[in-house]
Amino acid sequence: MQPKLELLSQVLIDRVLDEAFQLMLKPGIKVQSGEARTLLAEAGALVDANSDVVRIPEMVVRKALETTPHTFNLYDRNGNPTVFYGGDAVHFDPGSSGVHVLDPDTLEHKPSYAADLMRLVKVTEMLPQYDAQSTAVVCNEIPKAVGDLYRLYVVLLFSSKPIITGSFSIQTLQSMIDMLGIFAGSSSALAEKPQAVFDVCPSPPLIWSEFGSQNLIDLARAGVPAQMVSMPLAGAAAPVTLLGSVTQHAAECLSGITIHQLAKAGSPIVWGGAPAIFDMRKGTTPMGAIETAMIDASYAQVGKSLGLPTHTYLCASDSKLVDAQAGMESGISAVIGALAGINMISGAGMLDFLACQSAEKLVVDAEGIGMAKRLLAGMQVQTENLATALFEGINFKGDFLKQKITRELFAKEQYLPSAVIDRDSIRGWQAGGSKDTFARAKDRTTQLLKEYQQPAMAEDQKKELQTMVTKLARDAGMDRLPDL
């Protein structure tokens, strides 16, 4: 039995949905793409031509929900389904789109470059706790016009895991789909076995920008999974109450699903988000706040009540260092996300309100994720009777270590952490250099990078990918790609 955290009663879920449907009529949803407005109008929504506000009746949304897939898989580059979106399956991936990386030696938050992204991708590739890669940081040396597709390029070169990514513009989305198509064989094959899911963000409160709506439409038509990242900020760009924010989230996602399914019914889309409360002292958006995790667990429950695949942002911290606060916030929120049964939990490695990525934190977070996944596996009945047979021949001695069954089952019953988690004796710890968590994480990161091996890629595919990206970069004014 997978343990579960449910913060909402059925009555509350119904109220959230009821009020979300009300919001979609009054004040309505601001839809800034003409094509999306046309789709909605044709389906029976009322469009105000002056304000771009669309009133979407519940019936239109319900119809879209009927065609939205409840499950889909993401595939690794070799065509194996390794991520399952649906039900209470739980997966983790590193947080996306950081603008800084934490320098492990100077502890500075430095602007991120292609080499930093490569390092993060390699570490993620080595850690089995991460089921997917993300385009974890922006690369500062790359022209903004091709920054999104270049990140995908780096991930494709150094990893074969499924990828959580997203485009920065309407134009580049197609290039990114084409890049993935190289490995799938064609874009229709990509729709059959997608290796990536694309994040698409509504703008709080209740706005789908031209860019966001157009991405929804284009992804639906390509059949490549879209992942809505709705981010109500409770008390600033959303109602101050947690339930008010959950309701706003529902209205933003329901309207997104409607646009998406109207563009092409049956295309996969994820009920996701990155909400946060608003810190009333500093005006920041704490990802490590318990209330942020409560909003996430609650909106996921609302999405599940509609049978939809889910995503959220947890396992991140607002601390500036990989310290006690980082461990506490990331660990607690990873467990909450896991117990809420959220299909994809992004955010690991992140510090400073999702601005700063750290490979060393990814290594620490992997242990928290390992523990969260162990918790999800729950209490298992491994033996015919629970204890009585195991007492045969024990005779009041602590001799269980000598039992064959102990050797057989210990690794199933226990999550075996890496050396990042200190369970040594005080003398052993001292002999190892009296290192704290961060120092141990640095050691392990170095070790993982040493052991890393680049996944094989067919020469012709590699060449095609490089030619494509080089040309796109050249069109954006970059003569040659950085050496990696």
Binding site: P111, K144, F168, M280, R281
Partner: protein
């Protein structure tokens, strides 16, 4: 009697109550009190109190923002009287404020606007998704001292540079200081686009603006 009224004015700002602050402003006009004096000895005292409490961690953003709103409402109520008397509140400088084109993030930008105007700057808040040409036109129209630009997306930050380039081309760059802000804005970026100042938060933005004005 005015001392009593000034105290109430300060309190209305501390309470963030626009209805009361406007009512008190009207009372001051009726009692023939100099509006400038009402602002500096009454309402501003309240703004400073909330500002200090906020800096000490004893007040929170909703209180700060509501104080700013109450202040704005009171000053607006006093404006006809100031016009009649031919007096003007001495402003610290003129700021053209906008979130750049393609970017609709409003919260940070509006907070900066509230803080700047509560602190005595004349703020022209142009809203969000504002085209470079419009920002430049506004700078010329109001003879701005400072342009303050927000960008929350890595994709729209580049517009901050565009505005600076156009200011330069039009020969306005030496006259107008440029402040930038937003989550992806780094020191590195500020140097690269040669902006004059940046701040991590709204309270810091006030200090940066004062420095740029040599105050």
């Amino acid at each position: 009697m005015s001392a009593e009224l000034f105290k109430k004015m300060a309190q209305s700002i501390i309470d963030g109550d626009s209805d009361v602050s406007v009512e008190l402003a009207n009372q001051a006009v009726a009692a023939n009190i100099d509006p400038i004096q009402a602002i500096t000895e009454g309402f501003v005292v309240g703004v400073n109190t909330v500002g200090e409490a906020f800096a000490n961690g004893d007040a929170f953003l909703p209180e700060l923002v509501m104080a700013g709103e109450a202040m704005k409402a009171a000053v607006t109520a006093l404006e006809p009287e100031m016009a009649k008397r031919g007096t003007q509140r001495k402003m610290l400088g003129k700021v053209v404020l906008a979130t750049v084109e393609g970017d609709i993030h409003e919260i940070g930008k509006s907070l900066v606007g509230t803080m700047l105007s509560a602190s005595g700057f004349q703020v022209f808040d142009m809203g969000v998704d504002v085209a470079t040409t419009k920002i430049i036109a506004k700078v010329k129209e109001v003879d701005a001292d400072i342009v303050a630009m927000s960008a929350l997306l890595t994709t729209t930050m580049v517009k901050q540079k565009e505005v600076i380039d156009v200011l330069d081309k039009e020969g306005l760059r030496r006259k107008v200081k440029v402040m930038v802000g937003g989550a992806p804005v780094t020191r590195d970026w500020v140097q690269r686009i040669e902006a004059d100042g940046y701040s991590e938060d709204a309270i810091g933005a006030v200090n940066v603006a004062k420095q740029l004005m040599g105050i």
